[in-house]
């Protein structure tokens, strides 16, 4: 029994179980497609295996195993000699077989870590294990809420979709750390090409949260196991994004602090994050009673894939790439971070930097393109098939055929807003750089029409030249290159 008083300071302890959907073409134990069904038509992505029909046998998808090995490598985890599958028995209609095929005592990845940066501080989060399993189907509580429903509708299209469950050590000390970790994990998985964050339901998180005496936290930030075992914890389910994790956990921690403040005990229970209402709700304790009677799945032979670690390459990961961008292209921290935020951005930047000046490429990709996309709440993935248009825009600027100002403020914006290619925006807006004789005429005219400014220039007033440049720019509708105009004016005036 606890004798703690409400005034004692408490430290937050959080561990995560993260389910990520692996990007394969087919399900993990059968050849059914993982593509969303046409018109979301239910039960059109099934076969005897994922419907659990008698006699059907599971056969493991090699691509899911490869993805798991890649994840293991990226998390610096061990891939054990032998890894096996188990049946996790529970009785619920989202599982047609009444058990879920998963891994138990011999997961495919064990003992890894992931480094994250929170408010400039580096933290290493331990990964206890990561294992392969099948996703259940989807159920709808029809005719009312979960409590007042009259019946259940079941769709097994999702059933059998490959998932990786990543289980962390209880290493998080704040909701902000969990958010940073999840963002980093998504980033790494996307780099590996095994995960698509834009897919509905591709990330699902359960979090174990408890409060312990702050005095029990050791110097290195860890909490002794005995203390953790002693603390009642709540398992918060139904979190589906890194932002959601931060909100759900902040709520849950406040709730637990309030319970303790009122002199009560934290109940060991499962709670459901209600995103809409922004609260965690207790699920009836009966549900939390766990007895899954795991046993070995005899229909799935063991895996011996530890040597795949050497066979399967993984791409350069974000941290390493960021560092290389700093040294190879001379980028500052901010630009290097922006340009490695996703693999697509980084690949695109390297394409452009390979052809044009890296500094120009960095400005165009990091500031202009990402900035304008961000302003429109778009991602680079929304314009993947138009990246060559942006390259052409950079080329036009690089060749001096378009002013930087027009390229940024008119062409790029119109391209994003109207979906036009750069050439048609330039033609429609008449932004092609002024013909040189037009510029020369305007320069002559500016000198002739502004004798006072010319006199000031000859008297050593440098500001006068800017005035004259402005006159020329006005006369050419902004299409002249200010640097070139400046040069032409000086030529005439000094000559």
């Amino acid at each position: 029994m606890s004798t703690r008083t409400a005034s004692e300071e408490r430290a937050v302890v959080i561990g995560l179980e993260v389910h990520v959907q692996l990007e394969t073409d087919t399900k993990v134990f059968c050849g059914c497609s993982t593509e969303p069904a046409d018109d979301e038509e239910p039960n059109t992505r099934t076969c005897p295996t994922c419907l659990g029909l008698p006699g059907a046998l599971p056969v493991l998808n090699e691509a899911a195993v490869e993805a798991a090995v890649k994840i293991g490598k990226a998390l610096d985890a061990d891939i054990p000699e032998t890894t096996t599958f188990h049946r996790k028995n529970y009785y619920y209609p989202d599982l047609p077989k009444n058990f879920q095929l998963t891994q138990y005592d011999a997961p495919i990845c064990a003992d890894g870590e992931l480094e994250v940066s929170v408010d400039g501080e580096r933290r290493t989060i331990g990964i206890t294990r990561a294992h392969l399993e099948e996703d259940p189907g989807s159920i709808q509580h029809a005719g009312g809420s979960i409590e007042s429903a009259t019946h259940t509708l079941v769709n097994y299209n999702r059933a059998g979709t490959p998932l990786m469950e990543v289980v962390t050590e209880p290493d998080f000390r704040s909701p902000a750390e969990t958010r940073a970790f999840l963002a980093k994990l998504e980033e790494v998985l996307e780099y590996l090409g095994v995960f698509d964050a834009t897919r509905d339901g591709s990330l699902r998180v359960d979090a174990n949260v408890s409060l312990v005496d702050a005095d029990e936290v050791t110097e290195d930030g860890s909490v002794p196991e005995a203390v953790l075992a002693d603390a009642n914890r709540a398992e918060v389910k139904n979190i589906s994004s890194h932002k959601g994790a931060e909100k759900a956990l902040a709520y849950e921690i406040t709730r637990q602090r309030n319970v303790l403040r009122r002199g009560r005990e934290i109940e060991q229970e499962t709670r459901h994050w209600d995103e809409g209402r922004g609260v965690t709700v207790s699920m009836r304790s009966k549900e939390a009673e766990k007895d899954y009677r795991y046993f070995r799945e005899a229909d799935l032979p063991a895996l011996e894939v530890s040597d795949w670690k050497d066979r399967i390459p993984i791409p350069e990961l974000p941290d390493a790439r960021r560092e290389r961008f700093r040294t190879e292209y001379g980028l500052d921290d901010e630009a290097a971070s922006k340009l490695t935020s996703t693999k697509e951005v980084a690949d695109f930047f390297e394409d452009v930097a390979g052809e044009y000046d890296p500094e120009l490429a960095a400005t165009w990709v990091a500031d202009n393109l990402l900035g304008e996309l961000n302003y429109r709440e778009m991602e680079i993935t929304d314009v993947t098939d138009r990246l060559d248009e942006f390259t052409r825009l950079v080329e036009l600027v690089d060749a001096g055929e378009l002013t930087v100002k027009n390229a940024e403020e008119v062409v790029l914006r119109e391209m994003l807003d109207e979906g036009e290619d750069p050439e048609s925006v330039i033609e429609r807006e008449g932004l092609g750089k002024a013909e040189s004789d037009e510029v020369e005429t305007a320069v002559e005219a500016a000198i002739e029409e502004n004798p006072d400014a010319v006199a000031d220039y000859h008297d050593g007033d440098e500001g006068a030249i800017n005035f004259l440049v402005g006159q020329v720019m006005q006369a050419t509708g902004g299409s002249a290159d200010p640097g070139q105009v400046n040069g032409l004016l000086r030529e005439r005036l000094d000559g």
């Binding site: 087919t26 050849g31 619920y92 509708l153």
Partner: protein
């Protein structure tokens, strides 16, 4: 609903290949009491009357006794276990919706329809 395993309980899991350890294989006297029957019935969503609980406890004990015959099986040479049986990630034709639902007692708009659950 995605239920998750409890990582705490897993480090001390059974040896790979060992079946469910509850029957105390080899002890000769598998004990099944009323409480265990009730627990299993609960997990399987089966409602038992009190006298049924007693009947099942006796019957479970009897059934488990049959398995003791396996203790008498001598060690035999056997084929080596298969490993690394996998398939390529290629889409195969599955069932049409009508086929998938053909055995269902009740359906609605392409869904399997069942009683309410919570």
């Amino acid at each position: 609903m995605t239920d998750t395993s409890d990582p705490d309980g897993e480090s001390a899991g059974p040896d790979a290949g060992d079946a469910d350890g509850d029957t105390k294989a080899g002890s000769g006297e598998p004990v099944v009491d009323a409480a265990e029957v009730e627990h299993v019935a609960e997990l399987a969503r089966v409602r038992l009357a009190e006298e049924e609980t007693e009947t099942f406890a006796d019957q479970f004990a009897e059934i488990l006794e049959y398995f003791e015959a396996l203790d008498e099986v001598p060690d035999l040479d056997r084929e080596e276990e298969l490993v690394n049986v996998m398939r390529a990630d290629e889409v195969e034709a599955g069932l049409a919706q009508e086929e998938a639902l053909a055995n269902a007692a009740e359906t609605e708009d392409g869904f399997f329809k069942g009683p309410k659950v919570s």
